[in-house]
Amino acid sequence: MQDGSATLEGWSRSPRDPSEVFVSDVIGVGPDGDYCLIGGRCRQCARAVFPLREMCVHCLSPDVDPMPLSGDGVVYSYTVIRQAAPGFSVPYVLASVDLTAGVRVIGQVNDPPGAVAIGTAVRLKVEPIGEDSAGRRIVGFRFHVSKEDHA
């Protein structure tokens, strides 16, 4: 995956805009040109994986196709972080989310504490999450509480 070999054909690890930088190598530009979280689906067992690895973590097949991960999920558990590692401003909401694609992903929730509970419907969005020391926009991902859940 690191060498940009055939498994990521049609994908790019570089932001379209030089004033942007990806938060980590799990963000990429999909074949449709959109920024997305890079997951995968195994050709042998058809199960979804995140992150994309060299072999399928379920059946050990080497034939795993990259797959954009985005869209809907449900909060499996969550917390409000009030003491963080250096460089993070608190508080922020962190959740473990089961995406409908069939993977569990840990990430921050864009909404304030109180908007999230176990079972809350959320949507994963790849978006700017900050700025690095060189002034470039850092593109990462965040969960957003789905609108209908605000009611």
């Binding site: 992150p51 009030r82 250096p86 840990i106």
Partner: protein, 379 residues
């Protein structure tokens, strides 16, 4: 395969040691373990040293301090299980017949390395997204409370119990008992976890001398049998994974019970990895020491307190005794050996015959832990 014994144990006081280096701490633990065993230091054939943040060749640096050079030394990093894995390597070397006398030690001067929350590897995706170790256990606590219908005050009782145990341990970092109200009203760290539900940053070192049956025969009254020492790595996290039950602990324990020829019903006391209050619940239920979803009721009934049916963390655990990462797994076994020998003083567990030690640590993206270890000691 031959039987394996622990012939000597030593540990420094756990706490803040601003004027002592990790090398000095390690050396003191090694000297105490050697003296405790009565075995000549020149008979030590190999050493394994666990640490997480101590840098290159900490084992050699500690052992040079006590004049032990030339022998094969292996440094072990396996997150919070580092010390326990160093002990397992010593166990395997003796069990395989390669060595008769092996030193296992663990050392960490954590207060000089960290301020704020400890995280998994800083380049890991989840760390980049703001995950901390306390955040992981906060999510597990939230889910456990949801799945088993218990409240925060019930979880907080684990901290109350362990700090009460630590009050009787002169080597513990914190020796002041706390009330459940104090736990709940202490500084919030990651909801629902508060400060008094989190193990502290601690400095300390611990060492044990692992010997073969041949050597144990000469030092029989000091020896306790190390009947099993098992290790597994973390499990894949999928939408089927449960945060409220530890399959990893269950599998690691099952292997240990089988090899030791004992079951959870035989265990007289256990030292388990209570890095956070909820962690103790997940450990003991995963290891089958208490039924799923019932441990907190047992804690409330006093069953897990010294004098109760099955004391858990009589040393005070990580919450009371402190958590110098690399030393933790060895220190748990130091406590068990002292308990099984009947040398635990004010915190002695009556009739202690079988002791269990559990460590579990780390996390990486998509995997629920780095390593999990289980040791079973028999009198």
């Amino acid at each position: 395969m031959s039987e394996v014994y622990i012939a000597g144990v030593g540990m420094t006081p756990f706490g803040r040691h601003p004027n002592t280096t990790s090398i000095e701490l390690g050396a003191r633990a090694v000297i105490e373990a050697l003296q405790d065993s009565g075995i000549d230091p020149r008979r030590v054939e190999a050493a394994y040293c666990g640490s997480v943040y101590e840098g290159i060749s900490i084992g050699q640096r500690v052992l040079a301090q006590v004049g032990m050079t030339g022998l094969p030394v292996t440094n072990v990093e396996n997150a919070c299980s580092s010390g326990a894995v160093a002990l397992r390597e010593a166990f395997l070397a003796v069990r395989a017949g390669e060595h008769d006398v092996v030193l296992a030690l663990g050392v960490e001067h954590l207060t000089s390395k960290f301020a704020g929350a400890i995280t998994p590897d800083e380049t890991d995706l989840e760390t980049v997204n703001g995950l901390t170790m306390s955040g992981i256990y906060a999510m597990r606590s939230q889910r456990y409370m949801h799945d088993y219908g218990v409240d925060h005050a019930q979880v907080a009782l684990v901290s109350v119990k362990n700090k009460q145990h630590a009050a009787n341990n002169s080597l513990a970092h914190f020796r002041k008992p706390v009330t459940v109200e104090q736990v709940l009203s202490s500084r919030p760290i990651a909801d629902p976890l508060t400060l008094l539900e989190c193990s502290p940053a601690t400095d300390g070192a611990a060492a044990v001398l692992v010997v073969s049956a041949r050597v144990a025969a000469q030092f029989r009254d000091r020896c306790v049998t190390l009947a099993a020492s098992t290790l597994r790595s973390g499990e894949l996290e999928t939408p089927d994974s449960q945060m409220s039950f530890e399959t990893l602990t269950q599998l690691t324990a099952a292997q240990a019970y089988e090899r030791a020829g004992v079951g959870p019903e035989d265990v007289s006391l256990a030292e388990v990895h209570d890095c956070f209050s909820i962690a103790e619940v997940l450990r003991v239920e995963g290891a089958g020491l208490f039924p799923r979803g019932e441990y907190l009721h047992a804690v409330a009934a006093g069953e897990a307190t010294i004098g109760g049916r099955l004391p858990i963390n009589p040393s005070g655990g990580l919450l009371g005794k402190g958590h110098p990462l690399g030393a933790t797994g060895i220190a748990q076994v130091v406590e068990l050996v002292r308990q099984l020998r009947g040398e635990a003083g004010d915190r002695q567990v009556d009739g202690a015959r079988v002791g269990l030690a559990h460590c579990r640590g780390g996390k990486t993206v998509g995997i629920d832990a780095a390593a999990c270890t289980l040791q079973i000691l028999v009198k």
